[in-house]
Symmetry: C2
Amino acid sequence: MELIVVSNRGPVAYDRDAAGNRIEKRGAGGLVTALRGLVARHDVTWIASAISDEDRVVAGEPTDAVVLVAHDPAAYRGYYDAIANPLLWFVQHALWGLATRPELDEATRAAWHDYETVNRDFADAVVAELDNKPDAVVFFHDYHLYLAPRFVREARPDARTAHFVHIPWPTDWSVLPATWRHAIHDGLLANDVVGFHTERWCRNFAYSCRELGRDASAETTLTHHAISVDVAEFEALAQSEGVLAREQELVAERPELLVLRVDRTDPAKNILRGFHAFGRLLDEHPEWRGRVQLLALLDPSRQTIPEYVEYREAIEQVSRELEQRYPGSVQLRVADDFPHSVAAYKQYDVLFANSVYDGLNLVVKEAPLVNTRDGVVVLSENAGAYEELGEWVTGVNPFDVQGQADALHEALAPAADERARRARATRDHVRAHDVQEWVEVQLADLSTLSS
Amino acid sequence: MELIVVSNRGPVAYDRDAAGNRIEKRGAGGLVTALRGLVARHDVTWIASAISDEDRVVAGEPTDAVVLVAHDPAAYRGYYDAIANPLLWFVQHALWGLATRPELDEATRAAWHDYETVNRDFADAVVAELDNKPDAVVFFHDYHLYLAPRFVREARPDARTAHFVHIPWPTDWSVLPATWRHAIHDGLLANDVVGFHTERWCRNFAYSCRELGRDASAETTLTHHAISVDVAEFEALAQSEGVLAREQELVAERPELLVLRVDRTDPAKNILRGFHAFGRLLDEHPEWRGRVQLLALLDPSRQTIPEYVEYREAIEQVSRELEQRYPGSVQLRVADDFPHSVAAYKQYDVLFANSVYDGLNLVVKEAPLVNTRDGVVVLSENAGAYEELGEWVTGVNPFDVQGQADALHEALAPAADERARRARATRDHVRAHDVQEWVEVQLADLSTLSS
């Protein structure tokens, strides 16, 4: 089956080294990692945004597998920094304090126009690609591209398209002006298949469609299947030189018990409440002081967006306060350092993921796969992965700081056999339901379109 | 039909005058006004909280029509100031910025226990009343009393109960710990009838039940019917001496065109964005400067709750800034002065109600009834009343400040015949669907229970 994959970020990014030679880097993010499996085994053209300067140079060159779309830079900023993040991201993760924010104004309207422009650029690139591969199935990804499927459908009524939404879907879209929310739903409903990680987001989508007078099940096929990990690749990575070196350092300096969180510095990840809960744990349980440490490995995220800059500063502040109160209790590293994260995956006693909302949360599938200490996972009930792993993790309400402190306390001291049982069950589940399975399911859905 | 009405506030409140004599005041708020019609025409016992010191004295005396429940004062504070307001109110009006608030902690848990205690007090009072009037139908009101119906049902399995929820119902209750949200839904589902102002809140309730594994339509009867105004009483009030005196003052000092808002100082009312929109109107349309004034008559609300104190301060700040930029453009009055509001109802050219969310919004039914200038109503799409009046008002998205500025501009200058047509249609609608109709519909629902 021929496939055209469309996502904002592509499988590779380009840069130049000091000598001025082009270098190729693997694209970042779980989506790209997951979809790389597709590229290896199928006839795929991948359409993505040219983001770096060197990407823009590559965009002008003839290519086979990857088509980079060079958007107008100002339009890309409006599309990415004002609409996709934070507006859509905040709506879909319920992050706005609606009493005062957002305020949609003239600038937001201009940015919405940018969002339309960039989506049209993508649609044009898809249509051009369909001219070369008329039988290809188009596979759109995520909240950057809600409008593109309708534009493709208008130009090519017979195109076969699917869209996978990787983030939560809320039922109430009234934060957006009526024309925008209609356009978003109409764009998604232009697809033959719309997929989500969980049944919950799927149900919510059907509901929000109905609130706008649309019957999702009559217009498209709704599916849900959680994305997963490339197990072989991940296990190899865990044994790689870079990871082993970081693990050795970590073992040398680790406390008796390690509570780990690995996240982007995103308000949706609920990092502030996590620190508060950990502080509360030490307040209430003097027996843990000096024995347990919170290691927060945070990848700096979206630092062109004020909300994200503020959030990162608030994290650094709360971490300093906690370290002052309980010296040695916390280590915060804000850096893009995946080998360090994987080394820590192997060493945690408790993995703490308390997201406000989370489409899935891949960390809680990756880390148990390589953990060596039968660590316990404390997981937000609002993370998509909770629907899948709920039986073996300790669930927490992300808003209940006391509940999280209690959960950490319990997670630090369960019986060894119970820890082992839950860790094994989680690992077995991820192995049995890996990213290849997810890919096969998606392809099966798509192949029903390609007949 | 014998009725037991249960609500937090009752139809009368008691105080003492300077001479130490008991005085009786009419209870405040739309709910109490609406329900007073019931008392006049049916055999009603009304159970409510003793709030003032004098209420607590009355609570100890034998009474017929009004039973005041004297709660433990500390429990009442947790119930009212921590759980009902702001927690439930903020959840149901989507006011939390979930990235950082709320943080549920030990104090919140204690307050939840208070909420249970006060609900149990109410249930005990209902059960005692049912011992006197075994055939009475019990009619619970609003978000203060979600748990009481289940307690009554447990004590009196054959009791016939209905519950009317006067505020919006969201689909997603995940802000609350699982046990709390289950208790709230379970409490409501213990009723024979559950009613809302609009079909939208009703649908959302059915959805949130399903998300918790409950089938609302199998367990109870869901109804929706918007509450309304006592037309005769309101028209008499508009001609009362107090109102006529205030109107005379207002006419003497009024600008050419008056934009009016009448609200409690509640974040759900969206007062800050309203000022921003009015400022934007004057920025963009110099022709209105000096001709149009925003009159904001705001009733100070819930000033024991920090969020409400902050919000009131922010309103005063933004009003000062606007008045500095455009002298004479704004008049802010923060006072409990209903005659002034009714006088202003008669005089507005534009009535502005841009609520973030609003169960109904009675102001937009009251004011058009007595307005003398064929004023235009600019109304939030998220107010329950929009479902009813949408055809004749100018709808706005409450988050879209630019859209609100545009709507005010349009509302200030429509053709006279169009203004008259819309004002008349709104007035006719409210007259035809007054509070008596609402009462009759509720009684009809209840009477199916009393057979």
